[in-house]
Structure formats: structure tokens, C-alpha cells
Symmetry: C2
Subunit: 362 residues, 2 copies
């Protein structure tokens, strides 16, 4: 068995210890005589798994008691629809800040809701999404039902480094690509949602952390499993939940606790990113387009001096035991996603390769 | 490691060989250097997995070329909403046949759609859902957009043994608890859908087999990932699919082919069910409430002479290496779900226990 450094933007790497544990228990989970994949979601054993996962989330992220933790399906893309379906029940107005690919997709999905007012509160599209707008560039609608942001932009490689002041309007944040990577103050948000396949679990699980006062009746016609209030009432068990990803999330959260918690993740992530960005800043051969003050710790976007060399870079990186370094189709160049489970050695390995590639092609 | 006979209605048993294969590949899938859980869904390796799974479904089930196979999330419960959202675009009328728990839930979910006409074309509710209505008991709306049935009723233990003639209206069937258990003529249906956690894969994957002419624009406001047409256009990859359950589905379908295909599954399932029902019919100690001509091959519902003994039965079965024999809360008594992966030895073991329990308590 040879493991590879996988820089995929998601699904992405797991710690080897988590995979080993899952493999060891796959035929017989703790003497239950069955795999977690075979367990009734109503069984006592599985109930302990889902409750434990929920408690771990609360503890690891410091989630206050007035928030619910939901385990849903459909990815962040379904949240793009669930947020308006559940929250556009007051004034029917919402504000979106456009900072990249997924925040734009979220905005477009909200436009599907007829008779509502979906506003753009700020955008850096004209600048190629190379930075996050500052507070004074944002225009919020005072009576909006919510403000939506994408906290970390995995395609462009930027991140919000401050929590915007929305004047009391609930802030909804897509944290798919940065959840569990650094400490956050959950109480500043109305809803935090995240697809699992970057820092939490395999694809197929979506986490929603929602302030309890936002658990109200959704728009008429909203499907039951898209109804936050209903899913909270049923403890995410209205129907069969994605049992296996929830179990892997439990193993991942246990791993994070064992490693020193989210503060320790953050420290390591800062170290890994610094190593990478410091090298990028030290050379003219590679360019990092994102404004330094908005650089993501999770997704490092860069390019060489031309597209031909970009392609060569991606091609040659494979022989060095690295994969998925090609940038998103809408951006080009390269992207290295260095989520929690990417070891520091992986980033060092990549930087070594980058230096060598520069020597040979610079 | 001691494996147990798990009679859960779902999630439910897998063949040991499938679990062993998944365990063996969990750290490094076929020399890729990573787990399937870590793979980019856009990678070449994963693309082969999803394409292979789709081809296997087509081959194993004999799906005609004018049908699409979609890999979705949200379970059958989300299909209860997706079917009306996508099909109620003509007359706005739909017919539902009520034969148990989930067909009733599907009907109730359709009622959420305002301004539509949702009819009950037939129901055996008054008889405690102990049988499936006959063709001459069904009243279909000639210009309905679709007719909905639940092919196998996992809570009550009954199954449709004929395909109702809907007069040309597309027939939509929830086959969650019987898909892959016996041969069917796909061309008789407009849509077949199934949650994966009985005969296909772990929870978190939903299969939709849809006739291509039904891939039309849905009702306004339908979320993108709930739009069959859009999901078909993107080959179920509009967003990240539930990669791991799709991979396990591939292993399961390969296993079915190796075992002789669906005809072989059907033969074994008939044998297993006969063993069980023959015994139930031979004694007065146990009662099987479902009309013999409508008995499910997958879910056998039965009870003893009183509730006290039912509870004792469930309790004592655990010491015999069996689990999840308690009936659904809405029915009581016992239920043994004997899906494809329940070995014949498991049913024999259960019948042996039943005989002994009868001797001691009869």
C-alpha cells in the first residue's frame, strides 16, 4: 500500500488512523455483530453513535446551547435552496455577498424563489474574486430575513477574516471548506452549514448549525426533509440519516480532540499555509492572485508564468506522489487544498517539488 | 468477530464478501493511493466507479435505453416530494394507492403542493393494510400526471404481485424494499425509485430510474438538486454525489452478477420466504396477517397469540444471535426483514428458534 498526497478540493484526505479504525470495525462494530453500514438507525448502538457525534460537534466547535446541530443530506448545494425555503418567511428579502463560485451559486439558487427580493449586498466579481469586500463596501437591507456569505472560497482561495456586521440580521455562512479548521464564534451566526467532504466525513452528509429561534415554519410547499424545524424536532431522524458518514464524522471529531482540539488544528493549518505562502511570496515564478489579507488557509490558488508550464506542473506532480493539483476549470492554474488531514509533510513535499520545478523551468 | 443475523428493515445486512472487499480497499483503492472516501468525484478513478455502477444497474435490472439511472440523496422520503415537484406540470393531478405506511407518507407529502389535485385511487387502510387492492378496485384519473404506488410495503409485509394498468398514465413505484430482489419489467413503469439501505448500499444513496420523456422542466421554484432533468443532464454530478454508497452499490451489483444475477436472487428469496411462510401456516401459535397472495418476500410480519409473548419472543431472540425482530411501532408484533443479503441459514435459524419458542410457550 502506497498512500498519496491528495490535494483535492473535496472529497479529500482523511487521517490514516481514522481510515484504519473504520477498516478494523467494518465487519463488527464494537461487538455488535454488524457493520455500522448494516445498523438500523433506530437501534440503541446507532443512537449512541449519532448522539456522540452531535456532542462532539458541540464540544469541539464550542456550539452554544441555543443552537441545534442537524445531520442532513444533499450537500451545500441543497442548503442553497433550504436557506431561502426556511428563512424567506418574513419580509421575503435576502442579501447575498458574492465572493466566488459557490456564493454565486447560492445567490442563483435563491433567485428560483418567485416573488422574493434577492439582493447583492456586495461583490468582488469585477476584480476576479481576488479579495473579500470590506465592511464599508457592503450594503445590507435592514429588514432582510438573512444575509448569506461563503466563509471560505475553495475555488478562488480566499477567506473572510472578519465577521460582517449585518445590523442584527441573521448571518448565514457556508463553511463547507473551512469548518473545523480554526476557532470561530458560533454565536455571531444565525446558521452555519457545511458539506462534510472536506474536513468532516465522506460526501453525503451536510451539517447545519442553526440558532433555535430560526426554527420556524418554512415557505408553503417546502418538502419535509428540507424543513429545518421538522428535522430538528426529529433529531435529524425523520427518515434514515446518512449513517456511515455520521459515524466517520465521529471518528474524525474524536481524532481532532485527541490531537488537541480545534486550536491545535488552527495552529497546524497556519503553519502549513505560512510555509506555502512564504515560498510563493519569495519567487516571481509563481503567482498567488488572492490579496494577502484574504488568503485561505485551506485552498491555495497559484499559477506559474504561463499556461503551458501550469499544465506541465500538474503533469509532473503526479510522478512525485501528488494528485489533484489542477485548478478549478473556472480559474485555471493550480490549486492545493490543504485541509486538516493534509500532513505538514505533504505541504513540504509540494514546496520541494515547486522549487525543483522552478529551477528546471524558471 | 461474531457476526449476527440482522433482521432489520433497513439499514440491513451486507454479504460478508462485500464488507471484506470494502475493508481491504479502504486505505488504497486499486493502487490509487487513497480511499474511495477521499477521492475527488471529478477524478478519472471515481468516474470509472460511477460509470461502472450505472452500467451494472442497467445490466442487472435489464433497464431499457430510454431510461436514465440517477444517483441522488435524501432517501425515498425526498422522492415523495421530488415526484410531484417534477411531474405535476401537466394537469396538476396525481393518483395515489394507499397500501401501507410509506405510500401514505408519499401521499401526504404530495398534499404539500398547493393548488394541485391529489387523489386516492385505492386504499386498503380500512382493512389494516392487510392486502393489496385488485385492479377492479382502483379508480384512476384519466388525465393524471402520474399514479404512485409503493411496490413492497416493508412495515405491513405486503407486495404488489401485478403491475396495475393505469390506462397510459406514468406509473411511479417506490421499490425501496424490493429492488434487486426479483426480476421486473422496467418498461411498465415511468419512474422507479429506491433508497439504497435495503438491497443496494448503505443509507445516503437514492436510485431513480426514469423514462427519458419524463425529464421535463419541474414546477417553478424546485431546487436544482431536486430537478430530475438537471440531475440527468449532469449525470448525477451537478454537485458531489454520495461517493461511498455508490461504490458499495458497485460491489453489491458485482456480487449479484457473480451469484447468477437477479433471477438467482429471486429464486433464493422465494425459497427463503417459502421456508418461513410454510412454517407460519403450519401452526396456530403464530399469525401472519397479510393475505397469502400479497405476501412480501422481503418483510415477513407475524405475531404470537398475545403481546406479552411477542415481547418475550423479541427479547429471547437476541440470545440466539438474532436482532431487530420487533415489528414497526405502528403494527406491533414481529417483523423479519429477509433481504437479498440474509442467508438462507439465517431464516432456518429463525424458524428453529420459532419452533422452540412455540414448544416452550405454546
Amino acid at each position: 500500500m502506497t498512500r498519496i498526497y491528495n490535494f483535492s478540493a473535496g472529497p479529500s484526505m482523511f487521517p490514516e488512523s481514522v481510515l484504519r479504525e473504520a477498516a478494523a470495525e467494518i465487519m463488527d462494530y464494537k461487538g455488535s455483530g454488524m457493520s455500522v453500514m448494516e445498523m438500523s438507525h433506530r437501534s440503541k448502538t446507532y443512537d449512541e453513535i449519532i448522539k456522540n457525534t452531535r456532542s462532539l460537534f458541540r464540544r469541539v466547535m464550542g456550539i452554544p446551547d441555543d443552537y441545534e446541530v442537524l445531520f442532513l443530506q444533499g450537500g451545500a448545494t441543497l442548503q442553497f435552496a433550504m436557506v431561502p425555503a426556511n428563512l424567506l418567511t418574513g419580509s421575503g428579502k435576502a442579501d447575498y455577498v458574492l465572493t466566488g463560485h459557490f456564493s454565486t451559486n447560492a445567490y442563483k439558487e435563491a433567485l428560483l424563489f418567485e416573488g422574493k427580493e434577492i439582493n447583492i449586498a456586495g461583490s468582488t466579481k469585477e476584480e476576479g474574486f481576488t479579495r473579500i469586500p470590506q465592511q464599508n463596501e457592503l450594503t445590507f437591507t435592514p429588514d432582510a430575513d438573512y444575509v448569506h456569505i461563503c466563509e471560505n472560497n475553495s475555488v478562488y482561495g480566499s477567506k473572510w477574516k472578519y465577521v460582517p456586521d449585518t445590523g442584527g440580521v441573521p448571518l448565514v455562512a457556508d463553511m463547507s471548506s473551512c469548518i473545523l479548521s480554526e476557532s470561530i464564534d458560533v454565536s455571531r451566526y444565525g446558521i452555519i452549514y457545511a458539506s462534510a467532504q472536506k474536513n468532516i466525513a465522506p460526501a453525503g452528509l451536510t451539517i447545519v448549525i442553526i440558532r433555535k429561534d430560526l426554527l420556524t415554519d418554512p415557505l408553503p410547499g417546502t418538502p419535509t426533509t428540507l424543513n429545518y424545524k421538522k428535522m430538528a424536532e426529529y433529531n435529524s431522524m425523520y427518515n434514515t440519516p446518512p449513517c456511515w458518514p455520521i459515524y466517520i464524522a465521529m471518528l474524525m471529531l474524536e481524532h481532532i480532540e485527541k490531537e488537541g482540539g480545534i486550536e491545535s488544528m488552527e495552529k497546524r493549518n497556519i503553519e502549513k499555509a505560512k510555509l506555502f505562502y512564504d515560498y510563493l511570496d519569495s519567487t516571481d515564478f509563481y503567482k498567488a492572485p488572492i490579496a494577502p489579507e484574504n488568503r485561505s488557509l485551506m485552498n491555495v490558488v497559484f499559477r506559474t508564468v504561463n499556461e503551458e508550464l501550469d499544465a506541465k506542473f500538474v503533469n509532473e506532480s503526479i510522478a512525485y506522489g501528488m494528485t489533484n493539483l489542477k485548478g478549478h476549470r473556472s480559474v485555471g492554474g493550480m490549486r492545493a487544498s490543504i485541509y486538516n488531514s493534509m500532513p505538514k509533510a505533504g505541504v513540504e513535499h509540494l514546496v520541494e517539488f515547486m522549487k525543483e520545478f522552478e529551477r528546471e523551468n524558471g
